[in-house]
């Protein structure tokens, strides 16, 4: 299960993005892909294969659940939604991500102390 990504996405970041996408409503895979693409204003180009791998892996972890339904295009599609465990995971991952960002930003802002 390789996670090919052209613009390197940090490990685990894709999961947070997917969980975030699903936190509003249930979506099928293609809608999630569009959401991430649009939300990042095209900054990330994620291979769709990696996205589906992440979805199925999270389903195995019971972070998301899937069911078949009818898409707005009138076709049968597999919809994913967040489980309570997924919601907890999203909260934790988001917090971690913010800490990480803060820490990295802090380091980037800081000037070396004179020794």
């Amino acid at each position: 299960m390789a996670m090919p990504s052209s613009l390197d996405l940090l490990q685990g970041t894709l999961d947070v993005l997917v969980l975030r996408a699903l936190s509003w409503r249930s979506m099928h895979g293609y809608a999630i892909a569009r959401f991430i693409h649009d939300g990042s204003a095209g900054a990330f180009t994620i291979l769709d294969g990696a996205l589906y791998t992440a979805l199925h892996r999270m389903e195995e972890q019971e972070w998301v659940a899937s069911e078949w339904g009818i898409s707005d295009r009138g076709k049968r599609a597999k919809f994913y939604r967040l489980t309570p465990a997924g919601r907890r995971a999203l909260r934790a991952e988001t917090a971690t991500w913010h800490q990480y960002v803060t820490a990295v930003a802090g380091v980037l802002r800081a000037a070396p102390a004179s020794s």
Binding site: M1, E60, E67, A77, T83
Partner: protein
Amino acid sequence: MAGDPVWRRLRRVWSGAPARDVDAELQFHLDARASDLEAGGMSAAAARARAIAEFGDMPSVRAGLVDIDARVARRRRRSERWDVVRQDLGYGVRAMRRSPGLFAAIALTFALGVGMNAAVFSVLDRLYLAVPPGIVRPDQIRRLMWQPRAVPADGARVVTTAPRDVRSVLGYEEFRGVAATLPRGMVLAGYDTDVERMGQRGDATSVTVGHVLGDYFRVLGATPAVGRFFAPEELQISVTAAVVVLSHRLWITRFGGRSDVVGQLLVVNGRRYTVIGVSGGDFHGADNDAADLWLPMNALAAPRGGAADWYAGSAWIQTLVRTPTPAASADLLRVASAALHDANIFPGDSTAVAMLGPLVEPALPGYPDPGVTIARRLALVSLIILLIACANVANLLLARGVQRRRELAMRLALGVGRARLVGLLLLEAGLAASIGGAIAIFVALEGATVLRRLLLPNVHFVDAPVNIHVLWFTVLLAIAAGLGAALAPALRASRLDLADALRGSARDGAYQPSRLRSTLVVAQAALSVVLLVGAGLVIRSLVGVEHIPTGYDSDRLLFASVRADPDHAAWQPTLAQRLPGVAEALRRIPGVERIGLAAQEPMYGISFLGLALPGHDHLPKVAADGPFVNFVSPDYLPTVGIRVVQGEVFRPMDRYGPVTPVLVNETMARAYWPGANPIGQCVMLGAGRAGCSTVIGVVTDAHAMHTIETLPMMQMYLPRADTGRGRANVIAIRTAPERRAAVAIAVRQQLESAFEGWADVRVRPMTDYLAPELRPWHAGATLFTAAGLLALIVATIGIYSTVNYTFSQRTHEIGVRIALGASAWAVLRLVISSGVRLVIAGVLAGLVLSLAAGRLVASLLYGTSAHDPMVLAAVALVLLVVAIAACLIPAWRAFRVDPAITLRMD
């Protein structure tokens, strides 16, 4: 997602295999992306190519997704299945609470049926399968046995004399012959187990002693926990090394596990032995019969005077060989056969062929143990009881299924699958079976203990009767029985006619007899007949055996044996000289009719003597052993009830000069002098050294070794001497039958005071000598009768419940009949005939089965045909009477049916 059945059901309906799902999902993605791109102005082909490129490595991603989904699906199926079981268990427990009586009855039936099987299995496991503990690599150990063969004069062919005559004991000469030529790498051991007396006077107890020879402990792989085992020089026959090895158990119980036990003294049979070691762990010898301690075999010879003499004649050695490879066994057999032949104990026209047997032997070959045979038959009996029990449970469950029709129909109507319903019903029965199985373990524990005592009273068991084998057996059998009993009723209950069941009361429409239930009752009755016939036959045989004429007036005889105790062994001649005077005094005890003296006790006290006839190279033989010799006083024969057929008996106080007079029994007279007059014939005793002894009379046969002797034994009587070999220490006392017990007490008192402080006195009625042989017959009769009664009770319950059920189904019909003017008698007949018809069918089937199975019990019978018409008729009658009795309660209820009430119930 756990705990969301709606979602699961949707998923189950819509989703197929993981691969199909993944493909559909990816297809949707590509289609959606392509159509978006097309909408942005791309050509269809370019849009599709772009969508695929954006996806990445499609085949490998797809494979990865299918893998994940397959894993998820597997996990879900497992947890769903477990959910169903948990739910059904809940239903089962609730159902059990609702009708505790029924479940108790089912559990108890299983407990008895399974428990009895487990108990019998426990005994058989010990006899046939389990290797005694502490033995290393038992697969390498073989028992050396042999079979006598007749060699025809031309030497071309070896003819087996008796195909089943396999013997497991060797004489010392043969053992030494095998030991001397034993192939390289093998180890040889001999042993003989005996019950002996340990300790002195006050605290003397019986212990099981292994007398060993060769590398006994090395063959079995035992290691000493303390000290050492016997050294080779301690086992030589020329020495009598007074050394003993203790079992671990005895070390703990007798010496408190003290480490300074080596060097302590232990008295066995009056001799002092020095403890040299303790065996390790659970090891208790090669047999189930657990040894408490081990002595060198030469200790057996010591109290019997000359060791060499004893070894030559009476060593009975069980022989074990450890062979490193199976291939070496052929070498061993060749060597052993040659050694047996060279030992030259066989007359010229026969030889012996060595054979190898397994270490675990239920009984020693050549000595068929009736207890073992009974145990084997009991396995069959307990299986039949289990079948009856299962039929009964099936019947109860069928009846319950009818009562629950509406409940089950409701579940079906609400969409519960039939498979699930069957599973639920099986689980309910399984719960009852599990409880029954748990109780069965206790039944097995108690039952096996009783069986061991009844069937194998002489085997000294030290381990618990229920081990891991027995536990497994019980668990598996309980499961099998539960399934077996519940499957048919569950299937039947799930095949309801929904509309009918939901609409109706219990007696809707016409009464439909249940063929399945009827078949079960017929089967129960048939199997009960088989068991009862078996019990009847064994009881008749027991009565037959108890009345076998042994040649003795058994019910009025007492035998007193008096021996100097081991500390005063030197006084034995004095005792023999004083005995006639002491015996004379016994005559004054009221109730004593006659008194005689002899050298040997009846039955097992036997003695051989070298014997030759002038002009004969080989003596004719009747049975394998004999002639047996006893030295008797003139009064002995009339005292015990042996009569003179021809000639005369010994005259009192006769010395007969140099020529010894001899009495022979009829069998011996016929065998040695066929067609000739035995009186006046010459018999050379002690290998001819003493010259001719003259036959002066022929007396009636008496049994020499067993109550049941298929062949009569040759016996001869010589006059008792006060000294030397024929000196008496047995007093035979003929009493008035009703005074026997009182006389026994008086005789013991008088003898004990006569030899105060230095002799062992034993007084036993003749029946005691016969009792060990009757014991297995009593045990068989007891067990088979118990089994037969159990079967009868279970079958009776089955008949009752079926008739009762039938009646409840037909209450309405009976009401109509009564209203239409049916006589009470007609109603009675209706109800009773519904039960009795089934039982008659069952009895007939059972009789046919019994006739067919007769061969199986034939070996347990004596003087009774397996097809004894009396027994068959009696059993049939008993079962019919019981069946009618079982129908009486329902019939009485039918009698009191009030048509006004039953008809209004509509």
